[in-house]
């Protein structure tokens, strides 16, 4: 038990040092990177590690007779949480969201320190001590609070009332509800029943299993399967069309969606919101192939009202590509990210 706790403490201290180092630029701030697509899991894991680390640390200090009072433990943990959200998470979370997390965190800390009567007493004690001001130190503290609190709160409210020019927040629906059908180049496609004409095996039959077996592998790098190179001249069916789709992608789409389909293309920095990241499990992996067909064909200008048409520079690709080319690009996007399109059932 003791060894386990010591280990926990070690992990916690090392992690904290690393985090502090990254925040204050002692070590490069990308020493431990948040990996795209796995970010929420990684963050949960990290915070879990820290909680374990703190538990170990507190146990160690206890054992060595240098126990930290509950009061400071509670405040310390909450401050840590706020710092983690502010400095570790990137892209940055807006203040309003951090405030929400902070409130939830505060409630959790209160629940923790008031879990039983004794703990709660221990927690309150330092506050009551300052109020009672029995010792010189506490008296000093009390006078300091008396003066500082009004100044601080006055200052905050002054800051809050100064006119500011922060960017207004605009909400938009990421995946608006699709229509039942869409008309592209004079032909109507029913979203529920249409199929990609290129998701076919070498014999030319629609074959989802065949195509799914030939997409890139999940995991670091997302590389193609060793024997499924779309650039192999002998390819027939699916992989041949993947290559053709890739050619179209790299002549038209990568400027925004990026060479790795992660929304970091050459022009991406100029646009707001930044282009969709197809490697994120929240985009094409969650959608049907025909939904993508509709979005690609109609672009930002064809978004329904809840999608805020004004903010998207996504071209209506029916102006630039044929229907076949659109299907091939979609085929390539699923191949390159290693995701299966969602099916309607």
């Amino acid at each position: 038990m003791k060894a386990l706790m010591s280990l926990g403490a070690l992990v916690g201290v090392l992690g904290l040092l690393l985090l502090g180092g990254m925040i204050f630029d002692v070590v490069p701030s990308n020493t431990v990177r948040l990996i795209e697509g796995y970010m929420p899991m990684q963050m949960l894991f990290e915070v879990g590690c820290y909680v374990l680390g703190f538990a170990g640390l507190s146990y160690m200090l206890n054992a060595m007779g240098m126990a930290l009072p509950r009061f400071w433990q509670g405040i310390g943990f909450w401050v840590f949480l706020m710092m983690y959200l502010k400095f570790r998470v990137y892209p940055p979370i807006p203040f309003s969201v951090r405030a929400m997390y902070g409130t939830v965190g505060l409630v959790t800390v209160f629940m923790w320190v008031s879990a039983n009567e004794e703990d709660w007493k221990k927690f309150k004690q330092p506050i009551l001590n300052v109020l009672d001001a029995q010792t010189g130190m506490n008296r000093l503290l009390r006078y300091m609070y008396l003066v500082l609190l009004p100044i601080l709160i006055g200052g905050f409210s002054f800051n809050a009332m100064m006119p500011k020019s922060e960017e207004p927040i605009e909400l938009r629906t990421v995946h608006p509800a699709p229509p039942a059908s869409t008309k592209v180049h004079g032909k109507t496609y029913t979203l529920q029943t249409s199929q990609s004409p290129y998701r076919v095996n070498p014999e030319g039959k629609y074959d989802q299993e065949y195509s799914n077996a030939n997409i890139v592998e999940q995991g670091m790098g997302r590389l193609m399967k060793p024997n499924a190179n779309p650039w192999d001249e002998k390819n027939q069916g699916y992989l041949k069309y993947v290559r053709e789709g890739g050619e179209i992608f790299f002549q038209n789409c990568h400027f925004c969606h990026g060479d790795n389909l992660n929304g970091r293309g050459l022009h991406a920095f100029a646009f707001n919101p930044i282009p969709a990241n197809f490697t994120d499990p929240g985009t094409i992996a969650q959608l049907q192939e025909t939904f993508i067909f509709w979005r690609v064909a109609k672009g930002g200008i064809g978004l329904p009202n809840e999608g805020f048409p004004w903010a998207s520079v996504m071209p209506p690709w029916e102006q630039h590509l044929t229907v076949d080319e659109i299907w091939k690009v979609i085929l390539f996007e699923y191949w390159h990210t290693g995701y299966y399109p969602r099916t309607w059932d």
């Binding site: 002054f158 790098g221 520079v313």
Partner: protein, 591 residues
């Protein structure tokens, strides 16, 4: 970074090699004792990567790289022609960013992913900012990056061999051992003199905006290229995602850029002089009002963007002199520009990638000061073949075929010249737009949701249009143009300075259905368009920004000073109440 030790080292180095210096003129050879340029040492060729690494690398290459660099690595993949700069042709073994002497192969060792000792690995890791080559760190593992480079260096570099001791040498810049010289005013001043003496300004321009020789430069393959703009260090190919690091400039200047007219200056300058030049070049990169480096967004490797353009209030006339105090005090905003690639003709190679915007207003009008780098002043000769209101004009989009007459590569630096231009677009009646509906960024949505467009062109004209859709020609606006003023329209050393004044808008003098009315303390959606005449930009072939907001800062209301005092007083009362209560409670207990 600049402690006294490095300063001492710099002084020692300066005196030691100062003796070796003669006049320091162009072409004066500066050699250390070994016969190598100063700061360089002989290196050994790296061992050949294992066959396994090469085979594994092939898999990475054909998943990720082939799309631009091509099946044979000749830089001719499907994406190649719509890129400028073009993807690298690996066949000749010509690589730009190196620690090795000019003309030599770069450092690459498949077993040593060490920064500073493995040029190609760092290029793949950090990408080449300002080009389409992204940073592959976080996408490919370290192992995968080494694998793909093993494949490229052994299979796709065809004219040279990384392991051939007969033909290849490695003369390596010892950058880690050369401590940067502190960027003192003296050092920067010397650097500013040296860039003239060493003729840097002939290509990079008098202010370093890359406007010196913008049209005649070609790379080894005959494709047009341009000298770097020193004011946008985040676009330096060799910036290694650390644009304000002077060592990167020192390295590029010491080793040259293979395949381009940029030579190595290792033989003609001392290390000390190179630090002076690097310090000066680094000091030119855009900084904030306090002279600090701009914060760089790690997701895009460009300066972080603030979408609100604040406009400060001025009493009386708004000055037309940029050096006047109100302009110097007005906050500058970086407005990122991308190519218009939504509708035909798409602009894949936009040469204007940012604009710096400042704004001031008084009781009658608002003024925008727009500054942007453009290597050439372009004014169309003769009359343009279309009218000012025409949007649907005969400008062709290039087919993606390298080598053919319609390709970007064939046309770059070779277009019919039109006017440089800039436009500000704001929605009309922006206050009345129902919540989800906003006009589209490109020339408005329809008659119901039109936009107000004010466009300045390099021939000195300023015009006002009404936009009702991306494919609709502009509509003239009655007499609005008479109320517009161009306070400044000057091109100097690769930069445009344009100051446009427009009325704030009032129902008496202007048309509420056509003109945008500016109100204090409100967020007014604002879009910027820019055209580079020498890039053949006209009509929809242009650079566009996202939607920004113009925000006219209101004067501070009186309540701001009153309420906080009242609140603070309230807190004092509250404190008193808590203390009394506690004291009473305790008394009650003890008594």
């Amino acid at each position: 970074m600049m402690n006294s030790v490095t300063r001492k080292a710099g002084v020692v180095a300066a005196t030691a090699f100062g003796v070796l210096l003669t006049s320091g003129g162009f072409g004066t050879a500066v050699f250390a004792q070994s016969g190598l340029p100063e700061g360089f040492k002989k290196g050994d060729l790296a061992p050949e990567p294992s066959a396994d690494m090469v085979e594994a690398g092939k898999r990475v290459y054909f998943t990720k790289c082939v799309w631009c660099h091509g099946v044979d690595g000749a830089g001719d993949g499907p994406g190649a022609d719509r890129l400028w700069p073009r993807p690298r042709n690996f066949n000749q073994g010509t690589f730009k960013i190196r620690h090795t002497a000019s003309g030599e192969l770069p450092l690459f060792d498949a077993k040593k992913p060490v920064p500073g000792q493995n040029d190609l690995f760092e290029t793949v890791t950090h990408g080449l900012p300002g080009s389409a080559m992204p940073p592959w760190e976080g996408i490919l593992s370290e192992e995968q990056r080494l694998q793909v480079l093993s494949f490229v260096t052994t299979q796709l570099v065809k004219d040279r061999k990384f392991t051939d001791k007969q033909s290849e040498t490695q003369t390596v810049l010892q950058l880690a051992d050369l401590k940067p010289k502190p960027a003192t005013d003296e050092s920067k001043k010397r650097g500013s003199e040296l860039i003239v003496e060493k003729k840097c300004v002939e290509c990079h321009g008098m202010e370093g905006r890359g406007d010196g020789n913008a049209f005649n430069l070609k790379d080894d393959w005959g494709f047009s290229i341009q000298p770097a703009n020193w004011h946008k260090c985040w676009n330096f190919r060799g910036s290694r995602q650390d644009p304000y690091n002077v060592a990167n400039i020192f390295r590029t200047f010491s080793t040259g850029v293979n395949g381009t007219p940029m030579p190595s200056f290792a033989d003609s300058t001392s290390v000390d002089e190179r630090w002076d030049i690097a310090n000066f070049v680094n000091s030119l990169c855009e900084r904030n009002a306090l002279g600090e480096p701009l914060p760089i967004d790690p997701l895009t490797d460009k300066p972080k963007i603030n979408f609100v353009i604040p406009s400060d209030m001025v009493e009386g006339e708004i000055p037309s002199d940029i050096d006047a105090e109100p302009w110097q005090k007005a906050p500058r905003r970086y407005v990122a520009m991308g190519g218009q690639i939504t509708h035909k003709p798409r602009n894949f190679v936009n040469r204007i990638d940012d604009i710096w915007v400042r704004s001031l207003y008084n009781d009658k009008s608002i003024v925008y000061l727009l500054e942007w780098d453009d290597r050439t002043k372009s004014v169309a000769e003769g009359k343009l073949p279309w009218g000012p209101t025409q949007v649907n004009i005969d400008i062709k989009e290039q087919e993606p075929k390298t080598g053919e007459s319609g390709s970007i590569a064939a046309n770059q630096n070779n277009y019919a010249v039109y006017n440089d231009a800039i436009a500000i677009e704001t929605p009309v009646k922006w206050k009345e737009l129902p919540a989800p509906i906003k006009p589209r960024y490109l020339f408005g949505t329809n008659e119901q949701f039109p936009v107000d467009i004010v466009k300045w062109e390099a021939d000195g004209s300023i015009r006002a249009f009404k936009g009702t859709g991306w494919d609709k020609d502009f509509e003239e606006r009655d007499n609005y143009e008479e109320t517009l003023k161009v306070l400044k329209g000057e091109w100097k050393n690769g930069r445009w300075y344009v100051m446009i004044e427009r009325p704030l808008g009032n129902k008496k003098d202007q048309d509420y259905d056509e003109d945008t009315f500016f109100e204090v303390g409100q967020y007014i959606p604002t879009v910027f368009f820019a055209w580079d005449g020498h890039n053949g930009d006209a009509g929809r072939k242009m650079a566009v920004s996202a939607f920004y907001y113009t925000f006219m800062n209101p004067p501070v209301p009186q309540e701001t000073y009153i309420y906080p005092v009242v609140i603070a007083f309230g807190v004092v009362l509250l404190e008193g109440w808590v203390l009394t209560r506690r004291a009473n409670k305790k008394k009650g207990k003890t008594l």
